[in-house]
């Protein structure tokens, strides 16, 4: 049964992807990309990757669709027809590469095999020892925030840098705040949406906090919580306008908080360095080794959640701010 659902979901993914290639209306492409994200999230649940599914559902089906649509509002909805000269070269090239790759998969271990090489490396150690060493049930969180916290530090910095990049490319400080764009003005009439959003936003924020602090025991953690937390602000900004959203949380405060998240993460590492241990070795944080791990993971996840949430808010605010400016000059 599981295999059938697995195959059905994968076939739906392939069909969605083919539809994305063929459709020239980019608005429909953005919606299809959202559907694609949702189907792949369901697929990840099927394959036991609940944490990944969580992230993909909020990022792939939520935020990326929203960003795509915000961009399309500026760049225009339709794309030109394909040029024959390009497709003539591209198609054989793609078919050849794909054929070679599929030939390469023939050696792969069968799906679900317990004796595949990937299962025999470091994973059994994580599964067997993390309960004693880290003391939390969610192995994904133990690996993410403790065993491989150095990697995660790098990733948080990449996210932070991307946020700075978006700011550098799109921020305009020389313009006065706009008086509300066309898109938000039309939203004023949607009474039902506004009331429902008002009821939902506190729940979304609460859920974000739950995911943040329950990530050690169930699926969740800083990455997912950050994205969920940010989506509450997106919802508010979409329905009540950018100016109202900026009054709730000022752009400067968001930027400082984004840096603060990275700072909390880095400081946790530096504290261990100053105490004579390795970078991000949590054992200095408390006398009891397992308790120290708990504390360390709490700080790390806090830093991750803060940076992810604020960078997502920065990205959305900058894109929407650009959109407003465009709307005025046109």
């Amino acid at each position: 049964m599981e295999l059938i659902i697995n195959m059905a979901l994968l076939s739906m993914l392939a069909m969605t992807a083919i539809a994305i290639v063929r459709i020239k209306d980019l608005f429909a492409v953005a919606m299809l990309a959202g559907i694609y994200g949702l189907i792949s999230a369901s697929f990840f649940v099927m394959l036991d990757a609940v944490d990944v599914a969580f992230t993909e559902a909020s990022v792939g089906a939520g935020i990326s669709t929203l960003l795509m649509l915000t961009t399309l509002a500026i760049t225009g909805r339709f794309e030109k027809a394909d040029k024959k000269s390009r497709t003539r070269f591209a198609l054989p090239l793609v078919l050849l590469t794909g054929g070679l790759l599929i030939y390469g998969t023939l050696d792969m271990p069968s799906f679900g095999a317990a004796d595949a090489p990937v299962q025999e490396h470091v994973a059994p150690r994580y599964l067997n020892d993390s309960e004693q060493e880290i003391g939390i049930p969610n192995v994904v969180t133990s690996v993410l925030a403790s065993y491989r916290s150095f990697d995660t530090f790098g990733e948080v910095i990449v996210i932070f840098t991307a946020g700075i990049g978006v700011l550098a490319l799109l921020m305009r400080s020389d313009l006065p705040p706009a008086k509300g764009s066309k898109s938000t003005a039309s939203m004023h009439e949607h009474m039902v949406l506004r009331i429902v959003a008002k009821m939902l936003i506190p729940l979304i924020l609460l859920f974000g906090l739950y995911v943040q602090f329950h990530g050690e025991y169930g699926p969740g953690g800083g990455f997912q919580a950050g994205v969920i937390f940010a989506s509450a602000f997106f919802l508010y900004a979409m329905l009540y306008g950018m100016n109202a959203a900026r009054r709730v949380i000022d752009s400067v405060v968001v930027q400082i908080l984004a840096a603060l998240g990275v700072l909390i993460y880095g400081t946790t590492g530096v504290i261990s360095l100053l105490s004579g241990k390795n970078f991000l070795d949590y054992s200095v944080l408390s006398h009891d080794a397992v308790h120290a791990q708990h504390l360390g993971i709490l700080f790390i996840e806090l830093g991750v959640g803060l940076t992810v949430a604020t960078v997502m808010i920065i990205i959305f605010f900058t894109f929407s701010g650009r959109n407003q400016v465009e709307g005025e000059t046109d």
Partner: protein, 117 residues
Amino acid sequence: MNFVGLFNYWIVMILMMIGFYIVIAQGNLVKKLVGLTLFQTSVFIMYITMGKIEGATAPILSEGETLYSNPLPHVLILTAIVVGIATTALGLALVVRIKESYDTIEEDEINQKDQEC
């Protein structure tokens, strides 16, 4: 040939090639970024497929369970998804700037304008 055991990998390759095709054959910059996202997601699916063990459960330790799927691919992909959206946003920001300078996001028109200068 083991059809059931390799089906996931074949779909991964098909998705990857669809993404690749969009990137090289279609000229619209937003569409190209969607193509890159498809390419990226296909790699995610490949990693998660490799981590699955038949009959196992999600890697959250609990009483009475002995077999768990491999948590390591989950960690790698979970962070990759969030990094992916951050970099996609950077790409979209570049597209917005290109639209403002060139007034188009079609690759051939941009090249044409470059040559006119």
